[in-house]
């Protein structure tokens, strides 16, 4: 079965990754717009998408950079947003056939939320070629969208450019509404985080990076106590 599948697996991966690519493209266009609006150079925005290949945390990093956060604040915040990948990789890794640590490492690079979800839906073990197909096509969507967004941003009329700043928050809100439709209790956790973060920044004048880390950890901690885990199991 494996000998027949080699070339096939690559094509199958590309086919499975195409919907991700199509989904990533507009989100990356939004990233390109936001990055340009925040004052990043074209090369910066491109380097972000090429090397990070992460949705929420790239937006978050740009947001923090724009607000003048220090390097270590950005790094800690990005790490916190991305800790969830430990879980996804831990779940997917045992099913990847590849033995070479180097190639395993390369496959790990592209294990985004969506790649993980699609790859996990495969039956049995997952071949290297399938993973390469799905990751390369997804990554291409993300990078090309970023380039497009940045270029589109430079031809938008001035007054409209200021309102582009809402793109970021509109996207976060859209993501949050989707999560809350799945598990209504999530809204409480998000509101706790929003409340603590607002108080920390607006009242206590804590720097944005630390306020973010603090509010996120406390809210997720409270959530861990409030939820039983059954909510997620039912919906996944």
């Amino acid at each position: 079965m494996r000998s027949v599948g080699h070339e096939h697996d690559l094509l199958r991966g590309i086919r499975s990754g195409s919907p991700i690519c199509i989904g990533y493209f507009p989100a990356a266009v939004a990233f390109g717009l936001v990055a340009r609006d925040a004052g990043l150079l074209f090369g910066d925005a491109l380097l972000f998408s090429v090397t990070n290949f992460a949705g929420a945390s790239q937006f978050f990093a740009v947001n923090l950079i724009e607000s003048g956060a220090l390097l270590y604040e950005v790094v800690i915040g990005v790490l916190l947003v991305n800790l969830r990948y430990l879980l996804m990789s831990a779940s997917l890794a045992p099913r990847i056939e590849e033995r070479s640590p180097l190639i395993r490492g390369m496959l790990a690079f592209g294990n985004t939320d969506e790649v993980f979800a699609v790859a996990s839906a495969q039956q049995g073990s997952v071949s290297t070629r399938f993973m390469i197909g799905i990751e390369v096509v997804s990554w291409a969507g993300w990078v090309s969208g970023t380039v497009t967004g940045f270029l589109v941003g430079s031809v938008l009329p001035g007054p409209l450019q200021h309102s582009i700043g809402i793109t970021l928050y509109a996207m976060f809100t859209s993501l949050l509404v989707k999560e809350c439709r799945r598990v209504p209790k999530y809204l409480i956790i998000a509101l706790i985080a929003a409340g603590i973060n607002s108080a920390a920044v607006l009242i206590f004048q804590i720097s944005t990076g630390w306020a973010f880390a603090l509010s996120m950890t406390i809210a997720a901690g409270i959530g861990t106590i409030l939820t039983t885990g059954r909510e997620e199991e039912e919906s996944v």
């Binding site: 990789s89 890794a93 996207m171 989707k178 956790i189 973010f212």
Partner: protein, 104 residues
């Protein structure tokens, strides 16, 4: 932007890659304590709340309403018909409209 952003970008890439990489190289991480699993799973949701507020209130000063109207329409459209592009485009238009109106 006058700051050199290369260190920000590359270190962000490193701390994005690390949690993705470690389980691919080490074994036994697929049996973490359930409470820790829940905590890590809730992180993105908590992050979204903190990412939206208070940022959306600060960025559109003095027209706080512009930001709120923008995320309001995004939430409403996502709730009714799903998707992401239409909610985002609508929120740009609504925010633009509110900013323009408040200038008048």
């Amino acid at each position: 932007m006058s700051r050199d952003l290369i260190p920000f970008i590359l270190l962000s890439a490193a701390v994005t890659f690390m949690p993705r990489l470690i389980p691919f190289l080490l074994k036994g991480l697929d049996s973490l304590p359930p409470a820790l699993v829940r905590f890590l799973r809730l992180m993105p949701v908590a992050a979204l709340g903190a990412l939206i507020f208070p940022g959306v209130l600060i960025d559109f000063q003095p027209s706080v309403l512009a930001g709120l109207a923008g995320i309001g329409i995004s939430a409403l459209i996502t709730y009714i018909r799903g998707g992401m592009i239409i909610p985002i485009l609508s929120s740009i238009l609504v925010t633009f409209a509110v900013i323009e109106l408040s200038v008048l």
